[in-house]
């Protein structure tokens, strides 16, 4: 019981994901800035942004559906945070695993996009609605290739469980090379999933302000942004687990370091 709580709340649950999410956001922003010949934010900027947003007053549009509007950010956060429990990150076994958990992880990672759609749609603002429709359209574009890539790897390992899959690949590293193409495709799909440049049309700032999130502010926006960060970390962990299965049969600590390196490689 205590152990389960520890897993959910501290490691690899919420606390770890929050911290890692902040670090990932910082790395993402800093690299983006350096590419553009800018200085970039200081290391605490993501945390500062989060604190600022949380402390702000919440304004909900009069026309919006209050329940959906308020629930969606929490759904997004919970869904992306839950997925980490099924992804092996420090050993060959994840916290929980059963035969078929690949489907659950993929499902949980698709949920946030739906919450962006619903949240945007129920904001009842033209900008949010167009952004919402765009993120849904984009969903169909990236989700299929992403699923295909991961399922192809699963077929090769002949299992429906992520942990089993990782075990298979770490014992047969040679098979890794077969998935190289899939890894590339999955990486691009992940960019689409995270609505990062150049797949950021759902929140194209110059036409539709901030897309789905136009009407969001304060805590709710902070949750949405946090769920983006966590999705980034979880998505990267998933790709690392499936496509880069190195060092998982070594000491847990070294494995974890390997995992960090891999995740940062994917984020970058």
């Amino acid at each position: 019981m205590l152990k389960a709580l520890f897993h959910i709340l501290i490691f690899p649950g919420l606390f770890f994901l929050f911290i890692f999410g902040f670090i990932a956001e910082y790395v993402d922003r800093k690299l983006y800035a350096r590419f553009q010949n800018r200085v970039g934010p200081p290391w605490f900027q993501p945390v500062a942004d989060f604190i600022k947003l949380v402390s702000k007053e919440e304004v909900i549009p009069e026309e919006a559906d209050v329940t959906v509007f308020k629930l969606m950010p929490i759904f997004a956060l919970v869904a992306s945070a839950t997925a980490i429990l099924y992804i092996p990150i420090w050993s060959e076994r994840a916290v929980f695993s059963f035969n078929g958990d690949i489907i659950v992880v993929l499902y949980l990672l698709t949920l946030p996009t739906f919450t962006y759609f619903l949240g945007g749609w129920y904001s009842r603002s033209v900008y949010s609605m167009i952004g919402a429709v765009r993120s849904l359209t984009q969903l169909f574009a990236y989700e299929v290739p992403l699923f295909l890539c991961i399922l192809a790897a699963a077929l090769l390992a002949d299992t429906w469980s992520l942990s089993e899959m990782v075990k298979f690949y770490s014992h047969h590293p040679g098979y890794w090379s077969f998935n190289l193409l899939g890894f590339m495709v999955a990486l691009i799909s992940l960019l689409g999933k995270l609505e990062k440049v150049p797949f950021d049309i759902p929140e194209a700032e110059t036409e539709i302000v901030a897309g789905s999130f136009t009407e969001y502010n304060g805590k709710l926006l902070a949750f949405f942004r946090m769920s983006f960060n966590i999705e980034m970390v979880v998505g990267a962990s998933l790709l690392a687990a499936v496509f880069l299965p190195f060092g998982l049969n070594l000491h847990p600590l070294i494995t974890f370091l390997c995992y960090l390196v891999q995740v940062f490689f994917i984020i970058a």
Partner: protein
């Protein structure tokens, strides 16, 4: 025009695509634009009216503040008009100085536009790069004139600051650097797939439409119209300098980009020519405060197109009427044409491609009733009192502050 079944999106008055308040109402079917309309007038500042209550020299500073980017354009245009009314010929060195600042201003404005265009198509890296390079020319303007934006170098009858040998060297060095960078951007514009895909065939304005809608500046030149005041009606030192009018026939946003990039290269060569040819002599002549009665229309090729000022003098030290036609007003009508049948995603770049400067454009026109000949005009003093009253009504009162300020001034 706007049909009831379509989704209507208000772009503006406050919108991230626009840097200044202006309103575009866009009807959408899916992602496609079916109709669009423009509404001007959110930023009327009463500058023309205010000019009538100020002396010519004071007007010059006010006119300079019409636009933050082409400030030198407006002030030169106005000064030229006043000099024409007064019948003054300014010294040759002053003409060259005005040309120098004008071309440096064109460089900074076009680099600014390139960055904005990059941002509007989601190519933020281009924005960061061009604006970094723009700092070079901004610093140059600051060393030459003392200011980064409102240079304050013009005066009626010439210019206020001279250029020395050390500054000349600095200018030439900066030109070499910027020319290098601009060549890189030209290469980028011609070969980068992202840019080509986002710019080619977007915002088409045919040659005939451009003629009919009276487009000016790079917007017209990208539609194959070779219209450039510097060539057609040379002012300042342009008659003595050698340059080409850049025009292309692609009629789209891509063409407008190429025209601006080409003009950058021309500007570098113009600046070098000015530095080489600038004659010695005085930089200004003395002009009497009272300008003799008369009127003049002054034209000037601002970075955004032809700028036009009308000045009427009644023989006192204040102008009787000043009329400013900023280039954006001439170009804004063509935006609706360019947006026809395009996608929403093209809207920001199409609007940005005319390089709009909305605040410079807004004017108020009082219409006279044809039958009763009645008209309503308000004196400047009344507007000022109304303003003070409006703020007082809302709890903002500067009366005591003003009195205190006056006391310190007198003491």
């Amino acid at each position: 025009m706007h049909e009831s079944g379509d989704v209507k999106i208000p772009i503006g008055p406050q919108h991230p695509a626009l840097k200044e308040p202006e309103s575009f109402l866009i009807s959408l079917r899916g992602e496609k634009i079916t109709a669009s309309s423009v509404r001007l007038g959110y930023n009327h500042r009463g500058i023309e009216k205010a000019c009538e209550a100020r002396s010519y020299t004071q007007c010059l500073y006010l006119i300079e503040r019409i636009c933050g980017i082409c400030s030198h354009s407006h002030s030169t245009c106005f000064a030229q008009g006043v000099e024409e009314v007064a019948g003054i010929e300014i010294p040759s060195r002053a003409k060259y100085m005005r040309t120098l600042i004008a071309e440096l201003e064109r460089i900074h404005s076009h680099l600014l536009w390139l960055g904005v265009a990059g941002h509007e198509i989601g190519f933020d890296t281009l924005l960061m790069y061009t604006w970094r390079d723009r700092e070079v020319v901004m610093d140059l303007l600051a060393t030459l004139t003392g200011n980064r934006v409102n240079y304050g170098i013009n005066t009626i009858g010439g210019v206020r600051r001279d250029i020395n040998a050390k500054q000349k060297e600095e200018v030439l060095k900066a030109m070499d650097l910027l020319e290098d960078r601009t060549k890189y951007y030209i290469d980028l514009a011609q070969n980068e797939t992202t840019l080509l895909k986002r710019l080619k065939g977007v915002g088409v304005l045919s040659h005939d439409d451009a003629q009919k809608l009276d487009a000016v500046g790079p917007t017209a030149r990208a539609s194959g119209i070779e219209r450039d005041v510097r060539k057609d009606d040379p002012y300042a030192a342009y008659a003595e300098l050698d340059f080409k009018v850049i025009s292309v026939n692609t009629c789209d946003v891509y063409g407008r980009t190429l025209v601006r990039l080409g003009e950058l290269m021309e500007s570098f060569s113009l600046v070098r020519q000015v530095i080489a040819k600038i004659p010695d002599g005085p930089i200004a002549v003395k002009v009497l405060r009272k300008i003799p009665a008369g009127e003049a229309v002054s034209r000037y090729e601002a970075p955004r197109g032809e700028d036009l000022h009308y000045i009427r003098s009644n023989g006192t030290e204040k102008p009787d009427r000043v009329k400013v036609r900023a280039p954006t007003l001439a170009n804004i009508q063509s935006v609706s044409k360019m947006l026809e049948d395009r996608y929403l995603a093209d809207m920001p770049i199409v609007i940005a491609a005319i390089d709009p400067c909305f605040s410079c454009t807004d004017r108020l026109v009082a219409l006279r009733d044809a039958k009763s000949k009645e008209k309503n005009t308000v004196a400047w003093e009344t507007i000022r009192l109304n303003g003070i009253h409006w703020h007082k009504h809302r709890g903002v009162d500067f009366t005591s502050l003003n009195k205190r300020l006056l006391k310190t001034f007198n003491a």
